[in-house]
């Protein structure tokens, strides 16, 4: 909001130079975002805080604030700045009541208007306003129109209350009705913009039509023109919420709507009207024929209890009571001592300060005028409880570290997805998608239900800059539940997604096993020794919370602990590879971290390390080509008993040297006991049992 230095100086003759004013205002009240020299004046751009709009969005109000900060006196002439040489209004506001024949005002919803004040003025001479007024408005960026309009604007920036002048002859039926608009109504405002209205919007209409958007802007149809003779000058204090809502819906902000939205002291309406009439008499020759003042619930000054001791406790200071009283008085509050309570004061704040209601509000006034910079930092004392470490958070970070240690780079994608990814989701996922009502764009219209689509896309982008991408992401996913949710945290889950690329010239399944190996390492580091990879015969489309759709139908596996699904991984579906234009092999997967972390907590248990040596035996076996490793492993493990602690596949061969369409597996078998050194015969006995069990399959042949 713009303020003129020269104008402020009329209120405060001893005002220091502009830079010092800006510095002090910034430290004690509002940020001065710009100081600009302009035609012999200096214009400040000041960010008046929203709660201070009622009292400080005017030159008179800001001058009051500056005087309080700087311990300076306001000029005795007060509000009579330039123009308005005569000190007293020549109109007596109380005597001439507006006749119903002249103009009838009706307010349909009483709660929409706090005060409706105004005057009918005849014999107006429309002409340009004097040079000093034009210059002053111009400096603040307000265009000069004519003397009457300029006066309304001038009084607004002087007092902070907006005014509006209607051309009386254009008010059909001599009635003004303040009401909510109807859905099919419309109005063209003074700036030539047409608005279609709704019942959320407060308007003023005459007998036939709407002529004003209350608190925002007047209608073109009741605009003054050079021939205007009679003016109805309206100073209405609207209830802030109605103006604010209408201004938001119509996306229309004006100097008036800003002030109305923040709330205005209805008592200001009287002062503003008086001031405007004074100027109208001087600059437009008008004569008042009648006044109206509908003010059913007058607003009075508030009394607030204030305890200096409490103020010092909140601020962390030792400001003497005398100094606090002086600060409050400088802000033009009355301070008195509370009866029978020597440590309490009663502070009377004017209705203009709509922001002050509680003792805390007054503490802020004392604190900022005293100066926050004067408060010395103090180390907090008291019981020092050690910070609690959240287990969930701990494991989340541990998982990040493990992926990083396995050569993965971390990415963070947007929580939003758009049409590009939605089409790929399964029907179930699509129906559970959470949609943004007012999205930024079509690319960010919904919240992601899984991480994988955005990660796969990120990898395709990354491949433009580098080969061998290994990415992971830990992030939240969002979905409606099939049942009613209890609270919003129910709609969110924490997932983990990962991807590895491999240049195409290598063996097709390399990326798959590299990812599987990385996962093994990570699960083991987390103490999850029993994770297994389930070979699911069904098509992946329906599997594992919709992630399966993104995987190659024959190259994927579910990650399980017992029967619990922790996630799924595999090669990216060929259709998506094509869509994202990925030439390299790409293995991807997604894990449900909430499930995983739950399991990690259970699994943490100490396993004793055996003091006795381990014995390793090798076993090689020829099997038909369609036999899978897991089948052989199962037999070995089931027969091996408690002495067999580990089995490792260290070689697989299916080359030409092996006949009959067979392949060769070679394993290390590790035997160990926790209570004794194993004897050769013991191990041998187990080995023979294993071999016997394996060779029960007719085509299998253990090589000896």
């Amino acid at each position: 909001m713009k303020f003129s230095y020269n104008w402020l100086k009329e209120y405060i003759p001893k005002l220091p130079e502009p830079k010092q004013v800006a510095d002090l205002v910034t430290r004690h009240a509002f940020e001065v975002s710009e100081i600009k020299k302009q035609k012999g004046d200096v214009i400040f751009d000041i960010d008046i805080l929203p709660n201070r709009m009622p009292d400080a969005s005017s030159h008179r109000g800001l001058a009051q604030e500056i005087a309080a900060i700087m311990k300076l006196n306001l000029s005795a002439k007060g509000g009579s700045a330039s123009g308005g040489k005569s000190q007293k209004s020549k109109f007596n506001l109380k005597k001439k009541k507006l006749k119903k024949n002249d103009l009838e005002i009706s307010i349909l919803d009483k709660d929409t208007v706090l005060r409706y004040h105004g005057a009918l003025i005849k014999s107006i001479k429309i002409k340009p306003s004097p040079k000093w007024m034009q210059e002053r408005l111009g400096a603040l960026g307000i265009k000069s129109i004519n003397n009457v309009v300029d006066i309304t604007n001038y009084v607004m920036v002087e007092y902070g209350h907006p005014l509006h002048a209607f051309d009386y002859e254009k008010i059909h039926g001599r009635t003004l009705t303040i009401r909510k608009a109807k859905a099919d109504e419309a109005l063209e405002t003074l700036d030539g913009v047409s608005h279609s209205l709704s019942d959320d919007i407060l308007v003023i209409s005459d007998k036939d039509r709407i002529i004003d958007l209350a608190g925002i802007m007047g209608g073109k149809n009741s605009e003054m023109d050079p021939k205007t003779k009679t003016v109805f000058l309206q100073v209405a204090t609207f209830e802030p919420t109605f103006v604010h809502r209408a201004s938001r819906i119509l996306k229309k902000r004006t100097e008036a709507s800003l002030r109305y939205s923040a709330g205005i002291d209805p008592n200001l309406a009287g002062l503003a009207l008086e001031r405007a009439l004074l100027l109208l008499g001087e600059l437009a020759d008008g004569t008042v024929t009648g006044f109206i003042d509908i003010y059913p619930k007058p607003v009075y000054a508030r009394h607030i209890r204030f305890r200096p001791e409490k103020a010092n406790q909140v601020l962390g200071t030792r400001i003497p009571e005398k100094e606090m009283t002086s600060i409050l008085q400088r802000l033009s509050f009355d301070v008195s001592r509370k009866k029978n309570a020597p440590k309490e004061l009663i502070v009377k704040v004017p209705s203009l300060r709509r922001d002050l209601e509680l003792e805390e509000d007054l503490i802020e006034e004392v604190g900022r005028i005293y100066g926050y910079d004067q408060i010395e930092a103090k180390r907090p004392v008291g019981e020092l409880a050690p910070a609690a470490i959240d287990r969930h958070l701990f494991f989340k970070e541990k998982i990040r570290d493990l992926f990083r240690a396995s050569g993965f780079d971390e990415v963070r994608n947007y929580a939003f997805i758009g049409e590009k990814h939605i089409a790929d989701l399964g029907p179930q996922d699509r129906s559970a998608l959470i949609e943004v009502e007012n999205p930024q764009s079509r690319e960010f219209s919904h919240l992601r239900p899984i991480l994988l689509p955005s990660l796969a896309y990120a990898v395709s982008e990354a491949l433009k800059f580098s080969k061998d991408i290994r990415y992971f992401e830990v992030g939240r996913v969002y979905q409606w539940l099939p049942v009613t949710y209890r609270d919003t945290p129910d709609l969110e889950r924490l997932n983990l997604a990962f991807a590895i690329t491999h240049a195409k010239n290598q063996e097709g399944s390399q990326a798959f096993f590299e990812l599987k190996g990385a996962l093994d390492t990570i699960f083991e580091s987390l103490g999850l020794h029993d994770v297994w990879y389930d070979d699911v015969p069904a098509s992946p489309e329906t599997l594992t919370q919709g992630v399966g759709r993104f995987l190659h139908p024959y190259q994927f596996s579910e990650i399980k602990l017992g029967e619990k699904k922790l996630g799924i991984f595999g090669m990216l579906h060929p259709a998506l590879k094509k869509k994202f234009n990925i030439k390299d092999d790409l293995s991807v997967g997604e894990v449900f971290l909430d499930e995983l972390i739950g399991e990690t907590e259970k699994e943490k248990e100490y396993r004793p390390i055996s003091k006795y040596p381990a014995v390793t035996r090798d076993l090689a076996i020829l099997v038909p080509r369609d036999v899978r490793v897991v089948k052989v492993l199962d037999i070995i493990e089931n027969t091996g008993g408690s002495l067999l602690t580990d089995v490792d596949l260290f070689d697989m061969y299916e080359g030409d040297e092996i006949v009959d369409g067979k392949k060769n597996f070679a394993f290390h078998l590790i035997f160990q006991s926790t209570d004794r050194t194993l004897k050769d015969e013991e191990v041998e006995r187990v080995m023979q049992n294993i071999i016997k069990a394996l060779e029960e399959n007719i085509e299998w042949e253990v090589r000896k």
Partner: protein, 353 residues
């Protein structure tokens, strides 16, 4: 008969001084060879009187064993040296081979660092939902509907099936204050890092999705003076400015959920550290826009209405809350020019951290 002690000293000295295998062989012959000096001693034993013969014999044989061991020890040493000398000399100027190692996102790193600074001050790290109800995000924080204060947050609203409760993407981490205070008993000392959303156009300094860290310290008698200490300590640690002290300056502001409210400014970490004290001096750099100060956080004393909405009696508790944008601090610290890079999938960015 030579003195065995003197012989031992002399022989050991010679062995120690020997510099090559060839010389060592000569010295061995000199001492232990057929006509070696020690051999001569042993041969002379028979001429000794009976009572000396046994004693000297034992001594001489012990010395012989000692010298043989020493010769052997040195020989092994020389052979090993010769073997190593034949091995290839490595070209240390060749480039090293890198082990594959991944990278954590800069935000992950920064959040860990920030959390640990606050943990060292006794603050616990707490989380909350990103999808919020209108009540938690606004009403509970003393931001009523149709109040211009709501315009301070441009909100993403969600389409909901039931019209009773409006849902949104949280515009700040402050709702977690309410959620936490409802479930716990004071004193509170928590920080809440998390993702927040604003419906605004993105550019180099604006994002629709970014992170905030919210802090809350509530007890009896927690004051603005305490806040100044905590926040000053944090920024000094985070920006690692051990030499120059960061000056914290509070400027009046307005937030519906705090009273008093203020903006937190620190002396610019890139230029004149004391410039905030005198704003009039035109020193500074482009980062602080030649003001010498940086606005880094919003803060205030928790508003009584907020305590009330969280089920606490404002008479019993007092404390401060603060919040700041994490990306902005990380951008300052690592000199990252564009906030949109945090969502980048470009490995040339991600692999820098």
């Amino acid at each position: 008969m030579e003195d065995l002690n003197r012989l031992e000293k002399e022989a050991k000295g010679e062995i120690a001084k020997t510099a090559s295998d060839a010389v060592l062989t000569n010295i061995r012959t000199k001492w232990l060879g057929r006509k070696g000096r020690l051999t001569m001693v042993l041969r002379g034993l028979k001429d000794l009187p009976e009572e000396d013969r046994r004693r000297v014999g034992q001594e001489a044989n012990r010395l012989k064993k000692t010298l043989e061991d020493l010769f052997e020890e040195r020989r092994v040493e020389f052979r090993e040296k010769e073997r190593v000398a034949k091995e290839k000399r490595v070209d240390v100027t060749l480039p090293g081979r890198k082990m594959p190692i991944g990278h954590l996102h800069p935000l992950t790193r920064a959040l860990r660092e920030i959390n640990s600074i606050f943990q060292s001050l006794g603050f616990s790290v707490v989380g909350g939902p990103e999808i919020e109800t209108e009540w938690y995000n606004f009403d509970a924080l003393n931001i009523p509907a149709d109040h211009p204060a709501r315009d301070m947050w441009d909100t993403f609203w969600l389409k909901t099936k039931d019209r009773k409760q409006k849902l949104l993407l949280r515009t700040h981490t402050s709702p977690v204050q309410i959620r936490y205070m409802k479930k716990h008993q004071p004193p509170f000392r928590i920080v809440i890092p998390g993702k927040v959303f604003r419906h605004e156009a993105t550019d180099a300094t604006h994002e629709m999705e970014f992170h905030q860290l919210e802090g809350l310290m509530v007890d009896k008698g927690i004051s603005i003076a305490h806040f100044k200490h905590v926040i000053g300590h944090f920024f000094e640690k985070f920006f690692e400015t051990k030499a120059k002290k960061i000056e914290v300056s509070l400027r009046p502001s307005f937030f519906p959920f705090t009273e008093p409210s203020f903006e937190v400014w620190i002396s610019c970490i890139f230029c004149a550290p004391r410039a905030t004290a005198r704003r009039t001096s035109r020193k500074g750099c482009s980062v602080c826009k030649y003001s010498g100060g940086l606005e880094v956080a919003g803060a205030g004393m928790v508003h009584p209405t907020v305590f009330h909405n969280a089920g606490l009696n404002p008479k019993d508790v007092q404390g401060f809350a603060f919040g700041f944008g994490v990306e902005r601090l990380v951008m300052m610290k690592y000199n990252i020019p564009d906030i949109r890079l945090f969502h980048s999938s470009d490995p040339r960015f991600l692999r820098q951290f």
